[in-house]
Amino acid sequence: MRYPIPSKIIEITSATAVGHSIWLAPNDPWLSAPTPGQFAMVWLPHPPDGYKPEVCNSVPMSIAGWDNGKVRITIKNLGPTSRALLACQRGDWLGLTGPLGHGFSLDCQHPLLMGGGVGAPPLLYLAQTFAAQGIEPITLLGGTTENEIFHHDEFPGTVELATDDGSAGHHGRVTELLAASSPERLYSCGPEPMLVNGLQWALQHQVAAELCLERYMACGIGLCGICSLDQDLVCQDGPVFTSERLAESREFGALLREAGGRVRHLSD
């Protein structure tokens, strides 16, 4: 049943300058491991002290980890609801609907992971899942500055960083690190311009790619259709799409929809 299961915050970890990670214990534990790339609708049911009730909302967030029924979510300070979620304390309650959507495929011996911003958390869970299968992934993580990159010290396998200010790793864009790679498959999640560059690189070099997309979602469970990408529902058919599918998309990299389904062109 697609119900926001009451879930207690049992641990807060991995703080950066722009957010942190929480572990949730759902009252009905998630008995089987979600697929990396799947997401949950995370509901803030009560405003934290000092916040107005208007911050309460239910928003889609990637799953950053799973451990015996407990679920990890990493929150970036992006809007009123995520700011209020970051103000929640250990012992506070959230609602958790999920796991939702289709995640990454795991049949890969030499995976390359590329993330930026809140794209890092689902890739952390993906890297941990590969590591548990004895596969060592290579991960490229990008950000404005070092202390805004989530989880970079937690990834199993090799990690390379890229920062806009040169505070860590390569001074420049994370996509510039792709040049030296020849993976079996590229897995990526992060800002859409980064994904667009990743897709171009993958197509040019004939590397299979799976990209995890973000869209505004009003229901998250395949009822309203506002998150649609062309004729697909990002909440249902995605959020992970293959490079073959995205190469023929008219909307990927071009337009998003906001509340009410209003169109916003990415070039605006």
Partner: protein
Amino acid sequence: MANLRVKLAELDLENPVMLASGILDSTPGILNRMARTGAGALITKSISLKPRPGYPGPTTVEIAPGTWINAMGLPNPGLDEFLEEFPLTKLDVPVIPNLVADSAEEFAQLAAAVAEAGAQIAEINLSCPHPKAAYGGSLTAQDPQAAAAVVVATAEHLPIIAKLTPNVADIGTVAVACAQAGAAAVSAINTLAALDVDPELERPLLGNGFGGLSGVAIRPIGLRKVLEIVQALNHAGFDTPVIGMGGISNAEDVVRYLLCGAHSVQIGTSLTGDPEHMSTITRGLEEWMDRKGYRDLADFRGRILEWFS
């Protein structure tokens, strides 16, 4: 081979199974996909003059298997962006706009605009049960005169389907008032006014607080309301088509509504997460008719009415 075709005003539909408003119809892309599922027609989400962002989440919660409470808040990009973007006349399947407003004058403006854009019929949402909205939807369909006034104002521009709320003492009276006012069809039922609460979190389950109940649990209520409407219309001398909906999740449920006298049906909640389920239902209806040896929908439509005469 059974003939599933039905006439709806000037439209000739392949079959009597339509996509209900508010489900998988928020963007041209998803509407295109639904056009390939075998539906006889597609009703769009409710369109208002100005954009509406919708309510905060949770907007939709499954409270028992197949039974949902929702308050989406009629999210839509507003009339102008809708007309610019939506393929009202470009699909193989008829697209029927659903309109929502808070006065008869605004409803008329919307009706004029969609008629101008090529719509051949429109559904008016007289029955949205979200009282926090500025719109008078729920009030309109609870007052036969007010509902009739909106029908009169809109039917001037194109044929109108009046969508009714079950949250009234006597839905037949409202249906007759709409028929008298010139409605080309009535559709029912919209969701039932509802509230649910999470005991652990000690608050309403929906972001909006109140919401509407839909899904399998409301099917017997929908059937009874449709039967009451058909009886009332017959009694008043109208043969206005009644489009039945509420809790339809398979072909047998479609048959149930048709047996109660529905002209055609709409499907919403049971498509959640499975848009292609629509084609299973339309195929199943044809198979059921073939198995029963029915050539036409009229062969069995309304058969239940004799039990209540």
